[in-house]
Symmetry: C2
Subunit: 206 residues, 2 copies
């Protein structure tokens, strides 16, 4: 085991450093975010995070150096968007949405994915996705350190096969096929080590 | 596939709803956060996220309903903390740190993990961890919607076996043994689907 310090980080080539720190933060959710503009817009994001259950809310991080400004602008314009899980069956198509398509091209058509619409939401869901979530914009947060923007949205609707929901609310994403990601280009299936009981001081799970 | 709406969310039992939405956000990084107080403090977090590479920075989410206020207070007091990856070899011990130990008990001792110290950082690293990251507090962000707090820290040092770092900076966490998590109690190993090339409009990866 070696220890790297700030001088070592600064000596790294720019793209090497970006990839190194992007993987170092660990496994991430990976989703397709659908928004409405002239064309149905779709972009892949590895930055969805849980904010709360009541109201049900998710956060979405936009880093300053990304090309995902179409998505950000559409969310701010329309106030509505969707988050859709990705499976091994279409992870290549999902990755391809990160190409810099011009605004008049829909990533759905260019990448071979199916837009689905539900009443009340102008933003497209991804028909191939086993978990399709509708959201409404709630709050924008600016991180001063580096210009990162966080969008928090409340969940308006969730579509999935509810036979994969356990008695206690746990959604068996492993069985639904939802994948995970690392860095900007690595995708993984998962294999369960198990669920552990609520940890108590007097009855340790070790 | 069924669609659930807000009325359905509101009808859910409180803990069922918490688990449902916690898993719905997808796979998460899972780490042990070490802080210094009278005793070396250690707590498990599934909310580390990538903020940037230059300066190298990570975010950490504290939801209002968690018991992790010891960690938050220690970070705000000391300005220093550590983030340590978890492997299948000690994921039960890592989970057990979430039990409500009194302040005078070190979770390291109670859960059978080894505190390691590096010069200049009063916060303990986890000796069993294959990736040990030192951080310095940079910014606190309050999300108005539900009282969630985000702590952003800059990375001061990273310890790992650098033979697992690829030529382009990609860290092979799958081979280092880093696990991923879902909800509050489910842990998973990963299996690579592959890394995909940078997506281009004219040379799709589909």
């Amino acid at each position: 085991m070696q220890t790297l310090y700030r001088a070592d980080f600064e000596a790294m080539e720019r793209r090497y450093r970006a990839t190194f720190f992007n993987t170092l933060s660990g496994y991430k959710s990976i989703s397709l975010v659908g928004t409405a503009s002239a064309q149905p817009n779709l972009a892949i994001f590895n930055s969805v995070f849980h904010v709360g259950a009541n109201p049900a809310a998710l956060g979405l991080v936009f880093r300053p150096d990304t090309v995902e400004r179409h998505t950000l602008n559409n969310i701010l314009d329309q106030g509505r968007y969707t988050i859709n899980h990705i499976t091994p069956a279409f992870f290549r198509q999902a990755h391809q949405t990160s190409a810099k398509y011009p605004a008049q091209v829909s990533e759905f058509e260019a990448c071979g994915l199916t837009p689905v619409f539900r009443e009340g939401n102008p933003a497209p869901y991804v028909g191939e996705s086993p978990v399709q979530i509708g959201l409404s914009f709630a709050e924008r947060i600016d991180i001063r350190l580096n210009g990162t923007i966080i969008i928090v949205g409340t969940i308006t609707d969730v579509s999935l096969d509810t036979t994969f929901v356990e008695y206690d609310g746990f959604v068996r994403l492993e069985d639904l096929g939802t994948i995970t990601s690392l860095g900007l280009d690595a995708y993984f299936t998962t294999s369960g080590l198990g669920r552990l009981p609520y940890a108590r001081v007097d009855n340790p799970v070790i």
